[in-house]
Structure formats: C-alpha cells, structure tokens
Symmetry: C2
Subunit: 386 residues, 2 copies
C-alpha cells in the first residue's frame, strides 16, 4: 500500500450533491451549513433546499430500487424491508418536527473559552413536515412486543455513510422513545411532501421528534434492538456535555449521558447583529424562534433591551395549547421600546420558558463544555445607533 | 346573623393535629412548616412527622369507616369507593416520590423584590414511599377507556378541606399524566408504610409524582373527568409563573399555564448559612439535594466556591441510571477546596443538570414572579471564616 494504491482510492467527496448557494457553509468536507437567518423565524416550515445540513461523512449515493433496511436484534425476527415495503406495508404517518444540531449556537462558547467543533451560529436548526412509517409499527412487524421488551433498552440505528475504514455513522434512542406511538418516531421517506434530499438521508432517515439531530440517523441501513446503546463514537464520545471544569485532559466520557431530549432554547432572528438604527428610532420589531426538546411546549418568550431590567413578553405562534408532543418550534415576535443608547449601542436579549417552567441560563460561562454542545444561554443581539 | 351567630361558629382551627416540634413553622393557621434542613440531604426518605406541611385550609377530620371518594364525569359511570374498596378491589402500588411546594425557596425572591406568600426556605420539599391504588386502575373501574378518552382532557380532584363558605380545595392534572400506568399516579393511603398522617391527607390523597405538590390533593373526596381544568383558585389564579415585569396590577392569570411538572432544582443542605470555619480550613464537605419534575433524572450537580470560576462535580446517590420515571430526588455530596476568604467570607454555590441538560439560571432576578413560585436559581450559602 503506497502512493499508487492511494491514488486508486476514489475521492469520497467526488459525488456530493449540489447545494443551494444561500446556505451558510461551515465546512465543505464533510458538508455542514446553516439555514440563512432571514428564513428562520419567518416561516414555520424550512424549505428543503435551505434546511441546515449536518453531515459527519461523505454523502452516500443510494439506488432506491435496491435500498433496504434490516431490522434485527434481541428477540426479534430479522426482517429486510424495501422502500416499497415501507410505503405499502405500514400506514403513512406525518409529523411536523424541529431538528436542531447539538452544536447549534456553539460560536458563543468561543467567547468564554475555545471549543472544538464547527462554529455554528443560530442557524443549525430547522423545521419540516416529515412523513414515513412509524418505528413502533416496524418494530412490531419484526416481532417486538410487550413480552420481549424487558431485554431491550435501546434501539440502535446505522447509516450508509461511512469512513474509509468502513465504520458507519450510528446512534441510538431509548426503547421508551422508540416504542410509544405517542412519541411519533418515524422512518421518514418524505420531507415537506417531497422525497428526502440527498443531504438529508435519501431515501430513508430516522426522525425522532424532540431528540437532538444527531440521533436522527440518515441514509438508514440497519435497526438493532439491544440492551446496549449504540457503541458509535457519536453516541459514546461526542454529543455529551460536562461541567466547565472538565476539559480534554480530564474528561471521562462515561460520566455523562448521551444527549437525547434537549434543553429550552431561543434566538433572535431579526434584527441582526450590527444592524444600524436611526437615532430617532424609539422601538424595534423583534422576532425569532424558541424550542424545547422532549415535546415540551414553549409557554413564554421574553425580550429585554435593558439588560433584563424590564421584559416584554412576545406573541407566540402557535400559542400554547397543550403540554406534550410539541415537536416543532414556536415562532415569536414583539415590539420593544428602545432605551437611551449607551456608546451608540443597544443590546437585545431573548429567553424562553417551557411548560415545565425551565428557562435558559443567563450566560454561556456556566454551561460551557469542551465539545461546545447545547448552548442555550440568553441570546443577545447588539445593534448600532446612528 | 350577627355577633351571636358568629360566636356559634366553632373555631375551624380548634382540632388541628399535634405536630413535631422540630418542624420549622412558617404559619400556624393554616399550618405550614418546613422539614428541618439537617434532615434534608442526609436520608433518602423524609420521616412522616418531619415531612414539610403545606395546608391551605384547616385540617378536616375524617372517620375512616365513613370515608369514600366519588368518581364521576364525562362518559364515566358514577362510582363511590370506600377505603375498603380501595385496598381490596385494586392492586396496591408503591412509588417513592418527592413532593415539593411550588413556593420552595421563595425567600430568595424577596431579595430581588417583595413577593406575596409564605417565606419558604429550602425545606418545603420531602420524599416518601407512598402506597395506594393506581389512579388509572380506578378510572378504568369507573369505565374510562380508550373509547371515551377523547372528550376528557383533565382529571380534577377535590379535597375535604374547605373554607367557611364551603369552597373546597381543588386541582387537576392532564389526562395523559392521569391515565398512563408509567406515570405512577396513585390514590395514596400509606406514607412510609404507615397510615397517612392527618396533615398529609388522611385517609387518602393523590400522589402525582413529578408534578408540583399543589396538585396532589389531600383528604380526597371527589375525582372528576372533564374537558376542563379545575376551576379552583389554586389551579387558575395561584400556582403560575410570569415574567418579572408582570405584577399584581397587570397580571392576566389566563396567560400562563398552571404549574404541573417542575423545573430542575438543587440546594445545599450542609454547611448552613453563617456557619463558621476556622481560618486554617482548606476544604469543606458539602451536601444537598437535587430534583427535576416530570421524572427527568438528575445527571450532574456542580459546586463552586469561587463564584463559578471552577466547579467540583458532586457524587450522586442514586447515580444516574435511567432517563425517565425518576420521581425521587437525588442526594449529592462532595468535598470542595476553599479559596482565600474575601472579607472573612466564602460563598458556596450549587446547581444541577437534568437528563434533558436543562440547568438552573444563575440569579433569581431573571425568574422573579409576583407569586414567588418555582425559584430554581443557583443556590448560595455564605460561610464565615474565623
Ligand atoms: Mo448534531
Ligand atoms: Mo405548594
């Protein structure tokens, strides 16, 4: 194995799909890009071509006619399901869900102390209407029922995306999430009424609403019922959070649970940092998104222009109407009176409250973690006053 | 009706039960008292006689032989169940659950701005092993099943405690909480293996684990399946939280949901505020409790002696081992190295993280609310150095 052999290995990134030029690219290989902020906070559904992309590996190209997913594991009969099987043997189920990269808003952590990872702003999040077969129906088809469930604690997923050594992307979710019909986990083959885009897992991906994006495995190839979590790098040594006093030299990855449901989050999408207001302006329209994992509803979003001295409670869309199974973000908007500008600047802050009355911490310093995940500190936007 | 008639009204507080002298009394009529802090954080179960008491009204005295609960409502057959019915017709189910008053830790809010309500410290919380009949079994017995459930969104409870006008205490929980066997809601008739104490609802109270104490109606008399929440004062106009900019002159009670599952919480039980350390002391043992509503596990507790510059991660008991149905608090302890004392003082801070990676906000100012509920700011204890 030498230079010649290496030359024969095809460039794994030679066949990447075309992407929309408005995506805000954070890395090219693997491809990672944010939804443009002007699209966030304005429409409930994010268009497929502008939906944030979080790839860990090259995009695999799959022939739909030959694609299948294998379902197997502890107490199950091994089943191989084609795309036709998925669409004809199982009822089509539709769920509107927000996906958020575990690293969304990581950039703010770098102001505290440098973190390792893509410099995500507020755009590593999006919402779409996904349709597919219920995971609980597929597992039941493979024989998973109340009698066998005691031996199983996790449902693992594998994707067709893999590195040069052949190691594929993998993740798992708890059995309680996977099996309950009320949890709405699906094997999605449609996104906003169209085939999944290549970047989003064509032909089939997992959508586990309320769970962090990293568990919603794309280009799905295998489903494994197990006593164990996925042993993948991404389940065991990546998407976890620690105390700010834990760093790469003293981290014990086993001491923290894998991120599943995520914390309460919000961000200001308009105005944008650095936007310039005329000195005579006495109020500003503010809008953004808010979201909480686990189906927890957003019940309030507050905005302040005076460092939290006074808060304006925003209008929510949708308004709060049920406690659970809120899988999609809540958009919000309000008008905020502006105080006297200090040094020609005004800082806007937002923070959300969910149905459990959990809210966001004030500052990123207290939640800083070595991998820079799950930043949900109050979001700030500083404006200039002319 | 005049002076003579009024004299004939017996003192409604004439027959209050005897209480343990170690309880930290916050009000006598109605009786409200905290668990002594030296009991908190040391044992997983709080003894019955030292369990915090939150009464809204005089304690009703009930003859167990004549007690019954009526179950009725939308699509149900009306059922009347005696204590013997409850203990013989339904399987006994035991659940170890933490109860927390919605006002626990309210006292800290008064440093921000005065709030209305009892001045609770950190002791309006306790944990016991409760046994009783599952609410889901009782509702099924009254005919509530999958077919009728669409018309029902809440299960209301009424207690035998009432004011002079005859208005009784009432509250409700969502149907999803009430009906799922996994949610472990019971009609409890035992607390730590004994009859319920008079102060805790003898002979039967609701225990809705993971839900705030105010919904766990004591001296239970009625269960009503309904489209509507309880219309009681305590459901509609009391246990709710608002923005710090909402006060009694501008509150719209309908704009916030009733507290049910509660936010992530922790407190330092030892050392105590004002404890004096010798100047040569270079470390201190710290212990306390942590709890999150909704069954969300506590996955980490951090303690700092330097205003959050560095954090020590505490030992947890029990250690984290499952994601859901964690109805009881987590006790924690650790040893914290002490920095140089400033002005002869050292401040300890704790904060917890739950399985959704929600954590506590730094300061009470951002979560101040007119009723002073759900304070879960970082807990501080200031020590003196000799
Ligand atoms: Mo992610
Ligand atoms: Mo309470």
């Amino acid at each position: 194995v030498g230079a010649a052999a290496n030359q024969q290995v095809a460039d794994p990134y030679a066949n990447e799909p075309k992407r929309h030029p408005a995506l805000v690219v954070r890395s090219q290989q693997p491809f990672n890009a944010e939804t443009p902020v002007d699209v966030l906070g304005t429409s409930g559904l994010t268009p497929n071509e502008l939906f944030y992309v979080r790839n860990h590996l090259p995009v695999p190209h799959v022939e739909p006619a030959s694609w299948s997913v294998r379902v197997e594991g502890e107490g199950l009969k091994r089943v191989e399901l084609s795309l036709k099987d998925l669409t004809t043997k199982f009822k089509k189920h539709t769920v509107t869900a927000t996906l958020q990269c575990t690293g969304n808003r990581r950039d703010q952590f770098n102001d505290v102390k440098k973190v390792k990872g893509l410099e995500w702003g507020i755009g590593a999040i999006g919402t779409a209407e996904f349709s597919g077969a219920r995971l609980s129906d597929v597992l039941a088809y493979a024989g998973l029922d109340g009698d066998t469930i005691d031996e199983i604690e996790h449902i693992q997923f594998e994707g067709l995306d893999s590195d040069i050594s052949g190691t594929c992307y993998g993740a798992s979710i708890p059995i309680s999430k996977a099996m309950s019909r009320h949890e709405d986990v699906i094997l999605a083959y449609e996104m906003n009424g169209k085939d999944l885009p290549l970047d989003h897992g064509y032909p089939v991906r997992i959508i586990a609403p309320g769970i962090t994006g990293a568990r919603c495995v794309k280009w799905l190839s295998r489903i494994i019922a197990s006593k164990e979590e996925s042993q993948s790098h991404w389940q065991q040594k990546d998407y976890k959070s620690f105390s700010p006093s834990v760093d790469w030299d003293n981290v014990d990855w086993n001491s923290a649970p894998a991120v599943q449901e995520t914390n309460v989050q919000s961000a200001i999408c308009e105005p944008r940092p650095g936007d310039i207001l005329e000195g005579s302006t006495d109020e500003v329209e503010v809008r953004g998104y808010a979201y909480s994992g686990g189906g927890h509803a957003i019940v309030r979003v507050d905005v302040s222009a005076d460092d939290g001295e006074t808060w304006i409670t925003a209008e929510l869309e949708p308004v709060y109407n049920r406690r659970s199974r809120n899988w999609a973000w809540t958009l919000w908007h309000t008008t905020v009176p502006l105080p006297e500008a200090k040094d020609g600047r005004v800082k806007l802050i937002c923070r959300a409250v969910d149905a459990n009355y959990n809210t966001q911490p004030e500052s990123p310093a207290g939640i800083w973690n070595l991998r820079g995940v799950l930043n949900n500190a109050w979001h700030e936007v500083v404006l200039s006053i002319e």
